[in-house]
């Protein structure tokens, strides 16, 4: 038996889905978190019967008349899939709007059960709903639910009702017989009637003590949190707290402990292997696998704390307010206020960040956001930042902060360019966003979501990163004749052979060394790989503990191991952060951009950006610190000028298009 969960955005479909299936899909307190359908089997605790029920969680929709892509998915799915029962999740606090969709679902001929969700909130608002009457009026069972609660949530009753109505006929309370779906006027007429029907119905079943348009405490909170000027420092403070807790306070404390365990494992395995094992195998196991993967896993606590705090933030309802505060600024550069949500999520991971762009209605704004979100340093880039800050800058806090601000600056610049290239500088866009109610974020949900992320991270470390590090170790150990590379002849290894041509291009950026080029290349598979590969190629297993680095370097300048100046190191860090993201994120970009021209344009922009930023950092930095320009200045300058030329050409084309459109409108 198959059931679908359908309802308005932010009515709690995914929370209910997770509660009945035991899955851990991503939830957040704003409209449009779920962007594609998800399936799961309903667990025994809520479904004690023998019937096996598959539940499908659908993206939210306000109606069956499509407006955004999510609503299209919902409509197509409900119409095409052979569903046995539809569970309509209705936000009990806004019946007047929600039941519009309900009456449309009831007309499909598939039995419907209404889950009157957030029923705890109605009590708080002194609103009473006559459930029996509502059920009678709609002609379907209505069950009060609180999906966010772990007990007394009404879910068991809901599922038993689902089984009860399975196979029963469904009658529609509102008939739109005679509607001509091809004629907008006819559809509008019937939909107006439908709203009238709902209004009458709600008038009969609902008793509201406080009118919904009266000012509430929530509105007062909004006045501060989304205040024209106050809203900005509040947002800055919130984000600063998130990053400082995860990266300088709680995160590193936990990370140190974990690194201690990894070191212990290294020593243990080293002892177990003894001297009898071949040096190649022991190097592969110790440096390649434990060292490389360990270097990455050591940063897990930082990332987990970050995800935990972001989950709390998403759950609170604050993100929608940030979108409101940022709208007027983002509008100036051609983005939407909603673009801030993908970017904040992108500080955790670019993939959900890019997917969160789907709530942005305007196509250009959506695509631009999807293309630029990966410039926000994500959780996987944290190890890279932490490594370079630790090794070259004495753990200075400004390094991390500067990376985020550089990311923001690039996003603003990129948005300004894209709006000009597309020739939509003068185009009008609208902003509308539902303001969800604030709620105290659930610690339990945040923990569950953090653990899910941690699991994914560990799986990634245990598969892709492990394989990469093993491959890097092997390619470094052998030369093209498949002989073990002799000491002092590292540049004859396969890895050096592959990476050297790339290194050549990187000379003007200050890091034209094959080891660093190899690390940057493996970074495209997963950004943590940069750290893993560096650990392998330089034979350093503990990157968080700079004392050990000093030890490896024989007490000399730690930076000496990599043969980089601080300026070149900063350039290398920026290059890794601001080139295209990992392949998985590029895949997400591809899915959201839905256009090859945009995808390749985006990747080209990201490559060009990484190159130019690193070039400027290295050359200008060298000039400031040493009084002389760095290596390969002229070649790099030519490359950068060519990139700028291409950008200016595209912008000019777009400007011309904009002028033509303008001329067309005013003609």
């Amino acid at each position: 038996m198959k059931i679908a969960l359908a309802g308005n955005p932010n009515s709690g479909k995914t929370t209910l889905f997770n509660a009945i299936t035991g899955k851990i899909e991503h939830v957040g307190n704003w409209a449009g978190v779920t962007v594609s359908k998800k399936e799961g089997i309903i667990k025994k605790t809520v479904n004690p019967s023998d019937t096996r029920i598959t539940a499908v969680d659908l993206p939210g929709a306000y109606s069956m008349s499509p407006f955004s892509s999510e609503e299209t998915i919902t409509r197509d799915f409900i119409k095409n899939e052979k569903l046995d029962v539809i569970v309509n999740i209705v936000d009990a606090t806004s019946l007047n709007r929600s039941l519009f969709f309900t009456t449309q679902l009831l007309a499909l001929g598939i039995p419907v059960v209404v889950a009157l969700n957030k029923s705890d909130l109605t009590k708080k608002k002194k609103t009473t709903i006559n459930i029996a009457n509502l059920s009678a009026q709609l002609g379907c069972p209505v069950v009060e639910t609180i999906a966010a609660n772990s007990s007394h949530n009404g879910l068991e009753t809901l599922i038993s009702k689902v089984i009860e109505v399975n196979g029963q006929p469904q009658t529609a309370p509102f008939s739109d017989q005679g509607v001509d779906l091809k004629n907008p006027q006819s559809v509008e007429y019937f939909d107006t009637q439908r709203f009238e029907f709902v209004k009458d119905l709600v008038g009969k079943v609902e008793n509201r003590q406080i009118k919904s348009n009266a000012q509430t405490n929530q509105d007062i909170a909004d006045r501060f949190l989304a205040h024209k000027w106050l809203g900005l420092p509040i947002f800055a403070l919130v984000m600063w707290s998130v990053f400082s807790i995860s990266q300088t306070h709680l995160g590193p404390i936990l990370a140190d402990t974990l690194v201690g365990w990894i070191d212990g494992l290294y020593a243990l395995v080293e002892g177990l292997l003894g001297d009898q094992v071949s040096p190649v195998l022991s190097a592969l196991l110790l440096d390649g696998i434990i060292g490389g993967v360990g270097a990455v896993v050591g940063f897990l606590p930082l990332i987990m704390v970050l995800f935990f705090l972001l989950a709390l933030l998403e759950d609170s309802g604050y993100m929608a307010r940030v979108a409101v505060v940022m709208d007027r600024f983002f509008k100036k550069v051609g983005l939407s206020g909603k673009s801030i949500i993908p970017m904040v999520i992108g500080t955790g991971c670019a993939i959900p960040g890019v997917m969160a762009t789907r709530t942005i209605q305007n196509e250009r704004q959506r695509r631009t956001t999807a293309m630029l979100t990966p410039f926000m340093p994500c959780g996987a880039k944290l190890p890279v930042i932490a490594l370079f800050a630790g090794v070259f800058f004495n753990d200075a806090a400004w390094v991390g902060t500067a990376m985020y601000f550089t990311g923001i600056a690039i996003i603003i610049f990129g948005a300004l360019m894209v709006v000009r290239i597309t020739g939509e500088k003068n185009a009008r866009t609208f902003f509308i966003l539902e303001l969800p109610e604030y709620r105290f974020p659930s610690i339990k949900r945040a923990i569950v979501s953090t653990l899910a992320r941690a699991k994914a991270f560990i799986i990634k470390a245990g598969t892709i990163i492990l394989l990469c590090n093993a491959a890097v170790q092997i390619m470094q150990t052998f030369n093209w004749q498949l002989q073990v590379v002799a000491e002092g002849a590292e540049q004859t290894s396969i890895l050096a052979g592959i990476a050297t041509p790339f290194a050549f291009v990187l000379i003007p950026l200050g890091f034209g060394v094959w080891q660093l080029a190899a690390a940057a290349i493996t970074g495209f598979i997963a950004k943590e790989n940069v750290v893993g590969t560096l650990a392998v190629v330089y034979g350093i297993t503990n990157f968080i503990d700079t004392e050990e680095l000093a030890l490896v370097a024989g007490g000399s300048d730690v930076a000496g191991i990599m043969g980089l100046s601080s300026v070149a190191a900063l350039a290398y860090l920026m290059f890794n952060l601001f080139t295209p993201p990992c392949f998985a994120a590029i895949g997400a970009m591809n899915a959201e951009l839905e256009d090859k021209k945009w995808l390749w344009g985006g990747i080209a922009f990201q490559f060009g950006m990484g190159y130019v930023v690193a070039f400027i950092t290295y050359q200008a930095g060298s000039y400031i610190t040493t009084g002389a320009l760095g290596q390969g200045f002229v070649y790099g300058l030519i490359a950068c000028l060519a990139l700028f030329g291409a950008l200016i050409y595209c912008v000019n084309q777009g400007e011309r298009k904009a002028q033509q459109t303008l001329a067309l409108y005013t003609a």
Partner: protein, 101 residues
């Protein structure tokens, strides 16, 4: 509709307005949501925007002719409005598209 007014509107809006309005009623002087008083309930006269999608979308939220709307507050140049028991934040451009009686 006055020709001078038409000249300043985007072409799509003009054709759309013409197709919709057989009468010679004009909207520019009408009161819109951006001029509404806070905490006062208004009845919507019409929703007029060049972008048909946004008009349809507002419709599905219950924001269309004959329905009531209240401005709750003005936040960061956005209007917080209450329609059908829910709160939305809309920008000034969209607020101007919602004409009031």
């Amino acid at each position: 509709m006055n020709q001078a007014v038409l000249n300043f509107l985007p072409a799509r809006a003009v054709t759309w307005l013409q197709s919709k309005n057989n009468s010679n009623k004009t909207h520019p002087a009408a009161k819109n949501l951006s001029l509404a008083e806070i905490n006062k309930e208004y009845v919507i006269e019409d929703v007029v925007a060049a972008d048909k999608e946004i008009v349809n979308f507002l419709f599905t939220l219950g924001c269309f002719k004959g329905q009531t709307v209240t401005v709750i507050s003005l936040l960061s140049e956005n209007y917080v409005i209450a329609i059908k028991d829910a709160r939305y934040s809309i920008d000034a451009d969209l607020a101007r598209a919602v004409l009031l009686l």
